[in-house]
Each structure stands twice: as structure tokens, then as C-alpha cells.
Amino acid sequence: MATEHDPFMPRLKTESRDAAILLSPFFVFVAVFIIYPLIASFYFTLNDLTLSDLKPIFIGIDNYLELFSDKLFQQALLQTLAYLTFHTAVGVPFGLAMALLFNQEFRGRGFARACLLIPWATPPIVAAMLMYVLLNSGFGPVPYAFEIAGLLPAQFTIFGNPDLALLGLAIVSLWKSCPLFAFLFLSGLQNLPSEVVESARVYGASGVAIFRRVTLPFLKPVLAVNCILSGILALSGTQAFDIVIGITNGGPGYRTYMLYFLAWNQAFPWNRLGYGSTIAYVVTIIAVVFALVLLRIWYKRK
């Protein structure tokens, strides 16, 4: 009724008009290149589709049924879970230890902290290449050092060994991930009230007790974020693709295939876009579960 004289009305009107103008480039791009493809990719999972002719053949849920009989898929699933567990169970505590160390007072701390940025900035495929040069059996100095120390046989190969290749890849991943975890832990430690730590020390609490009773509870949210970040990186990040394709390319004998790498191989080199999308959806489901947990923690903090 009184809308015409309501001083707020014109303001709200221009507000949504301006919002529409500001959001239009974002929205057009998202609609064409994100929303439409996401819907299309669900349709792909119900079809046989090759990139060469792009004519989908409807096959219903056959792609989903194939997952249950696909031995390579099941192997890749187990290897994914093993990789993810190692990456998180070893990487996150190691990152925490690095952060606690770099939080101490020592000369050159600024330089040391800046070094944490190097693995983060390095292209993952270059990280894979550098670690290959360091660790390969032919001219890598690390296996050679173990060899002359009498700890490993001559020409020992980690990436060519079916039982150890996955572990080798996980170690390469940790080089890329741990400094990032350490960084996030360090940023959490900045907000740790130093009075609390000081008074605990004055009352005679030991370093271990302070860590367990003060620091660790304080870092809990960052710890959760890092665990889930680690899960996402190992499941569907560069750690699950670039490093695998660069060093072992899935071998030896499919022993380093993981779901993400398998999905990409099915879709592109093997030209089965429908089945590749189906496996990508399985990865998506695992990732969404992670994401929901992450969001809950995020909102609880706010």
C-alpha cells in the first residue's frame, strides 16, 4: 500500500538490480560451464559414450552394475583407501610436528617458514620429477646411500616394486602436502593465547602436558580441517593424479591405480566417457561425505 512512499523500497530495488548486474558474468559462466556439464555428466553415467563420435547409447544402469564385476575398480578402491589412510595418518601428524618446530624461537625462522611455500608452489608434475630423480634406482642418490650403508640391495627400486610402489608415491605426496598442513597449523598457532601457555608453565606443567591439555585442544578445528583436506588431496587432488601418472603411470601391474586415476583413464585414453563418469561419481560420493563433515565443522566454529 505504502510502498511508493517507503524510503527503503527504491534502495532494495536497485540493490537486487545491481546484484543481477554484478552476478551476470559469474552466473552465465557457471550455468554454461558448470551446471549444464554436471547435469550432462549424470546422464553420461547411463550411457555408452565415446569422444570420437559423441553419440550416447542408452544402457540404463549397466555402468553401475559393471562396478561390481570390475576387478580393476575394486583393486583401485582398496588402493585408494590405503593411500588416503597413509597420507592422513602420517602426513597430518608430521605436518603438526613441523608447525610446532617452526613455532619455536630460532635464528632464520622467517627463512625456514618461507621454505614451506616451495613445495606448495612447485607444479605437482615437477615435484614428481624431482622426487623421481632423487629416489630412482638408476642414478638416485638416496637408494645409493642406503646401498653403500648396506641397508638395501644393489639396484633397489621402490617405484618398480609391486609391493612398495604405492608407498613410494605416498612419500612423494607427503613432500607436497606436509608443508601445507604445517602452514595451516602455524596459522592456528598464531591465535593460541600465550598467557594461557605461560601460566601453565608457571604452575609447573611439563611441555608434554601443555601440548596435550592446551595446544592440542586449541588446534582441534585446524586438525579436523587438515585431516579432511588431506582426504580430499589424496582422493581427488593432484596427489591422486599428477604424481601417479608422472612416476608409475599406474604400474607395476596396476598396483598404483587409484579411483581418480582409473576414472580418467577409462574416460580418455580408453575412450569410455560413460563408465569413466560413473567412477568419477563414486569418487564424488566419497568426497561429498568429506565435504559435509568439513562444512559442519566450519559452521560450528562460526
Binding site: D18, L101, L117, P123, M129, R301
Partner: protein
């Protein structure tokens, strides 16, 4: 006295641990740099480098820089990363500003949508995007690559920018509104300059992500557009170049991003410390 002794041994312990960690972080790089200055014969001859002295040569760099597929890939990667970053920063800033400061229907939905899309595995989007680009005849073109990289970056960077622009006080915008400055103008005139540190951090992050990407680049580019990281992969798996030349290529391709990280370390550290995890 005992206290002082304990702190001394503690300090030594700290320095030893710091050296070990720095060794872990830096040794692949240092060895990679050494390898790129070795001759192939020296590299494969036993024992490997730290156990023998080497004579540095520049041949690998001379070869790889004059090797056309490599230098073209370098230029294409720079072109794609710069174009993608510009697009993402403009479209992302406009969208993020609207989400952060304007009231409109669907605002919360849009914010949650951006977060969920960021959580999706990139591959779930890559497969349909490759099909779409093929239908649009944009597969294996620079412009198709820019679109593909924007898919990778836009939701994530918009999400970060919302957090950054939210910290600009609403009073300032209110005052500008009173002065008759349009909202779009105040974004570019006031909001971005006020939050320049955060803006700059996201800009660097976008550039680094686009430059470092392998999966999208290796799938969208097939023959005519080969970016830098797929070239490195090719060097690693094929027999196109020797190991020492491959090392030189790897060092060169990580140079822009690592140099950026080192030069801007202060801003990056300050930015991340301030509020990467909210």
C-alpha cells in the same frame, strides 16, 4: 644452572630438527638443480652426485630453451594463466562483492553452491566439459583451455573473495551510496583498493593453480595446444629428451611460480595467517 643446560640442549635439538626438515623440503630441488647442470654421461655414471664431484655445463639449458615445443609451451602456459586469472578476478570479484554486501533472493543458496562445487572432484566436471568443448569446436584451442581453467578456479576464488570483501565495513559502502557513487563503481574504486592484500593473494593463487595444472591441460589440449606441465609429463614418460634436459625443463617450468612464492612470501604468509581458515 640445570635450567640453562636444558635450554642449550633443547636449542641444539631444535636446530637439528629444523635442518632435517629443511633437508627434506629442499633436497629434491637442490638435486634437481645440480642434475640440470650435469652432462648425461656424468648423471648415469656411478656413483651419483653427492658422492662425487661434477663439472657443471650449461648445455641442457641451451638445448631446452632452443627446443621449440618447450618454449612454445612456456608461452602458451603464460598466456592461458594470465587470461584465466584476469577473467576469474573480474567475474569473481563482481560476484563475490554482490554475495558479500548486497541483499537479494537466493544469496545463501548461491554461497553454498559455490562451496559445494569447490568440493567436487575436478574430474567429475572435466569429462562433461571436454564433451561440451568438443561440441563447441573449442577442444584443443587456447580459448577452450581458458574456459576449462576458469571452471577449475572461479568457484574457489569467488568463495575466497567473499570472505575478503566481507571485511570491508558496510559503513564505507553506505557513505559512498549517499554520495551517489554507484555500487559497481564503488567495487572497483574503493572495495578492491581497500582489500588489495587479499585481492593480490587470490590473484597469485589463481595464477599458480592455472600454471601448475596438469590434468585439465593434458586432456583439453591434445595436439595444437600443449601447455608446459603436459610437456614435462611427456619428457618424463617418453624418450624425447635426456634426463638432464628433463631436469632443466622442470626447473625452468617451476621457476615462475616458485620465484613468485619466494618474492611474495611475506604477503602470502601474512594473508594465510590472517584468515585462510575461518
Amino acid at each position: 644452572m640445570a635450567y640453562r643446560k636444558r635450554t642449550l640442549s633443547r636449542r641444539i635439538g631444535v636446530y637439528v630438527c629444523v635442518l632435517l626438515v629443511l633437508g627434506f623440503i629442499l633436497s629434491p630441488y637442490l638435486l634437481g638443480i645440480v642434475t640440470s647442470f650435469e652432462s648425461e654421461a656424468e648423471l648415469v655414471g656411478r656413483p651419483p652426485f653427492p658422492f662425487k664431484a661434477i663439472t657443471p655445463v650449461l648445455d641442457n639449458y641451451i638445448y631446452i630453451l632452443s627446443y621449440m615445443p618447450f618454449s612454445l609451451a612456456f608461452i602458451d602456459s603464460a598466456l592461458v594463466a594470465v587470461t584465466t586469472t584476469c577473467f576469474v578476478m573480474i567475474a569473481g570479484s563482481m560476484g563475490a562483492f554482490a554475495i558479500a554486501h548486497l541483499r537479494f533472493r537466493g544469496r545463501n543458496f548461491l554461497f553454498n553452491f559455490v562451496v559445494v562445487v569447490y568440493m567436487l572432484p575436478a574430474l567429475a566436471m572435466l569429462i562433461p566439459i571436454v564433451v561440451l568443448l568438443k561440441e563447441l569446436a573449442l577442444l584443443d584451442t587456447i580459448i577452450g583451455m581458458v574456459f576449462a581453467h576458469s571452471v577449475l578456479l572461479l568457484p574457489l576464488m569467488t568463495w575466497f573473495l567473499v570472505g575478503i570483501y566481507e571485511s570491508v565495513p558496510a559503513d564505507i559502502l553506505e557513505a559512498l551510496q549517499m554520495d551517489g557513487t554507484s555500487r559497481i563503481r564503488s567495487l572497483f574504486r574503493e572495495v578492491i583498493p581497500l582489500s588489495r592484500f587479499g585481492f593480490f593473494l587470490i590473484l597469485v593463487f589463481s595464477f599458480v593453480t592455472s600454471w601448475n595444472d596438469l590434468m585439465f591441460a593434458n586432456t583439453v589440449g591434445i595436439v595444437s595446444v600443449k601447455l608446459l606441465q603436459p610437456r614435462i609429463l611427456e619428457f618424463m614418460s617418453g624418450a624425447r629428451v635426456m634426463h638432464t634436459q628433463m631436469a632443466a625443463a622442470g626447473i625452468l617450468s617451476s621457476l615462475p611460480v616458485v620465484a613468485l612464492a619466494i618474492v611474495l612470501q611475506r604477503q602470502i604468509i601474512a594473508g594465510i595467517m590472517k584468515g585462510a581458515i575461518k
